[in-house]
Every structure is written in C-alpha cells, then in structure tokens.
Homo-oligomer: 246 residues x 2
DNA sequence: CGAAATCTTGAGTATAATCAAAAACGGTGG
DNA sequence: CCACCGTTTTTGATTATACTCAAGATTTCG
C-alpha cells in the first residue's frame, strides 16, 4: 500500500462544485491509495466481483461495460481521469458490470474502509461522492435515450460531444481538440451498433465537415453543428462550475 | 402539508436490507409528506425543473423518461411503489428527466430539507437512500445493455422479468401473476422500438407459451423459459433480502 | 520492415420502421 | 344493459436502417 498525497483529478472535480475546507482537502489528499499502472484493454474489475476497494482513474481512458449471455459487449459509459467507476461497490456488494482500460491507465485503488471512514468524518464529502454517482446515473439515462431513440449518426455525434465536454471539465482538451484513444470497435460497443456501421457514420461526419477523427486525435471542426447533429445538451452532465458554459 | 405516518413501501424496502432501529423507523415514519392522488399519464416532475422536494411512489405505476429534440420518448425506467424516482434532485439542482404516472398513483412529496435533516441525524439512512440511487443506476446500466445489444423479443422478455421480480420484492405479485397497467406503446418507449413491433414480439412470446398478457394482467406461464429468453439474471437489482432467490 | 490491429469497402440480408387501416377493448352515459 | 367513442391492439404491405460476411487497404508498433 503506497500513499499518493498528490493533488488528484477526483479532488479537482469536487472542488469545481464547492469549496473544500483545508481539513477536508487534506483528508482527501491523505486518503491511502494504491497506485497501479495498467496497460490498455485490461479488466480493472469484473462483473461478479465483491470488491473491498474502489478504483479512481488518475490518467488514461477506461470504460464500464456489460456483456449479454450471447457474448455481445455494451459499453455503458466511458471513464475519464477523476472518475471512480465502481464507487457504487461501497454500498452494493456484488458488481453488476466490469471496468476495463481503453488506453494505458494509472489507477488508484482506495479501500472501502478508508472511504467509509472519510464519509463518517466529513458529511460534505459523503454528499460529493453521492453526487458523483448520481451524475454517473444521469449519464446512463442519457445513454439509454441515445441508444434507444437516436440513429447511429446522431448517437455518434452525441457521444463525441459528451466526451469533449467531460474532457474539457478535467482540463484534457485544447480548444475543440483532444486525445481520444478510442477505436471504432469500442465506439460500436458504446453505441450499440457494429464497427462497420460506426465506420460509415464517422465517414459521414467527416464528409459533413463536423469532425476530424484519426488515430488518437479528435478535432471538432464545427461545434455548433456537431451539437445539433447529436442533439446534445450538456445539462445531464451537471457541470456547475465554470465548465457549465458548454 | 399533511402528515402521513403510515407504514410505507419505501420503509419496507429499506428494512429488507438492514434492521432499522426503533428511532430510525420512527424518524422515517414521521417524515412530513404531502400525499397526492394523480391520475394516469400525468407528469409528476418535468425535465428542467429545480425541485425542492422529491416524490415517493406510494401506489401505482410511474416511469422516468427523456425525450429527444426530435420528440421521441424513451422511458429509462419504470417506477414502482416504494421508489423515489427523483431522489437525485437532492444533490443535482436541475432535473435531466421527467417522471410521469402510467396508472393512477398515490405520490408522497417529501421536502429536501426534511430529507437532508434526516440524513444528517441518521447516517445509516443516508446510506440506504444513497444505495437506492445506486440500484437505480444499476437498472439504467442494464437497460443500456438491453436496448443496445438485445433483439426486441429478448428485450421484451427481459423487461417483463425485471418487472415481475421488482413487483414481487414489494409484495405486488401472486405467484407469477401481477397487475401490469402498461400499454404496448409504453413498452415500445421503454424498449426503444415501435408499438407495432412490440405487438409482434408480444404475440411471439404468447405463441411460445411464455406469457399471458392482456388488459392489465401479466401471467408468466414458464418463468424459466422467459428468464432464458430475456437473458435475465436479477443480480443487477441487488435484492439482498429473502427476495434474492429470484 | 513485417505482423497485428484498425479502418475501409462492397454485396447481400435481416430486423425493425413506417404508413395505413381494421378489429377489439374499456369505460361512460343514456 | 347496451350503444357509442376513444384507446389500444392487431394486421398487412412497403421501406429503411443497420447487420453480416468477406476481403482489401491502411496504420501502428515492435
């Protein structure tokens, strides 16, 4: 068990919502955390696990996913730095989903015991963690709508908008450009379509002059049109700080 | 503001997870709650609202839904007695979804102030409420998978299984039969398909001898086969009491 | 440079949508 | 109790979005 007292993106997220007292910030910074480097495409936790700790994404891209008994994978959300994708395991014994890295990640494992202790001593931190899980739920709701009622082209545009706004909120964009190490096959699993079809809508988005997407880079050429194409409204992300002006 | 000290289904749900102390139970029972009767197909809260209270479904069927800018509705979950579908508004200022009744409902409105006060005094109740919102999120995740990666026939079977298990958990089933005042058009909005297509898969489920579904009644003729047809595993509902043996 | 992964293209197919209309059902008032 | 009206369910024919399968091109990385 190593300590990781550095300022981390989870604390940054909380601070974008309300001011932490020095005591609260210190308690968060001193949270014992086992920091591990994980390469791309590795499960961090698996459906059925009964974890005694939760994982904080410190850097890199990960995803939360489920698999049908027929073996089809559905990504239910992308996890970015500052996210704790399995924070729910603090109150739900069995994990009903898996978490996998997409790119190489640095992940901090925090014991539930430590989190519970922190929550007992700092009720506002309880609220902040609870709130984070509520935003996760809001994203799931939006994804049910996205997958259930939008066409593939619109779905793809929507997810790209969400990624840009969330990456901007953690300082990982430059204007309308960001690193995006997500393959078309992974987008397919997130959108509930095939990789072939993702390819076709990506080409259409390019042809329409909305995006540049190649390799690990996304460049949004026309943010307003992409938002419109994706029927994107960032309200569901509940960014209340300066980021709110999306 | 009327008081509703009667034993209510939300308390019952919490008690299926852990024993409440007399003090905790009493605090829950004395929670000030404005009880309102709402007829079918009425919005209880709307996307964009900034509520100062949350709504507890005391009886009847409701649903949480969102609408695309093109006007298509997606139901993201059904709300049953004991559910608090907008509990997230306790920590998220703006609602990113609407809640509508499906059948006539009795709904109890509870002020956020009262809920916050209760949470401050009883940390275990905080955990119980937090846990409820985490189960909601687990259901949303399963629905992303359902809508994204399963065929309509499987989707329908899955949702029927979920409804039966959840209704059983609140004592609203008799064997494999229950009241189910949900129209095929509403199922269509929940499954992300058209009402016409729902009709066709329902007929197939009937023809396969899995269900009887007509009027307001569901009768599951072959639970094991329906579970199999719907790839249903109740783990994601996180029922830990006696209900767990689904 | 070469192998593996990723992206792209094409042809044929399937699941589900759309449109339209008829039948059945449920509740209400005379 | 029955006729009536609105809602819900059902049916049919046509169309569209997206899938499947297969192979070729390109990129990435050791």
């Amino acid at each position: 068990m190593t300590f990781h007292p550095d300022y981390n993106p989870m604390i940054r997220k909380i601070e974008s919502i309300f001011m932490l007292t020095d005591e609260e910030r210190q308690a968060l910074q001193q949270l014992p955390m086992q920091v591990v480097s994980i390469k791309a495409d590795q499960d961090v936790v698996r459906e059925g696990d009964r974890p005694s700790r939760s994982c904080l994404i410190l850097s890199g891209f990960a995803c939360t996913y489920k698999v049908t008994s027929a073996g089809k994978r559905q990504i239910v959300s992308f996890n970015l730095p500052g996210d704790i994708p399995d924070l729910q395991s603090l109150h739900l014994k069995v994990l009903d989903n898996s978490v996998s890295t997409i790119s190489p990640c640095s992940v901090g494992f925090i014991a539930h015991e430590a989190l519970r202790d922190l929550c007992t001593r700092y009720p506002r931190i309880t609220s902040a963690f609870w709130r984070e899980t509520l935003i996760d739920a809001a994203i799931f709701r939006e994804w049910v709508l996205n997958v259930g009622r939008r066409e593939a082209y619109t779905r793809m545009a929507h997810v790209l908008c969400e990624l840009l706004v969330r990456l901007r909120a953690v300082g990982l964009t430059k204007d309308y450009t960001c690193d995006l190490p997500i393959t078309q096959a992974e987008f397919a699993d997130a959108l509930g379509v095939t990789n072939v079809h993702v390819n076709r809508v990506v080409q259409q988005l390019r042809a329409d002059g909305l995006i540049e997407l190649s390799g690990d880079r996304l460049n949004i050429l026309d943010w307003e049109k992409l938002k419109q194409a994706g029927e994107f409204d960032s309200t569901y992300l509940h960014l209340e700080g300066k980021q709110a002006a999306a």
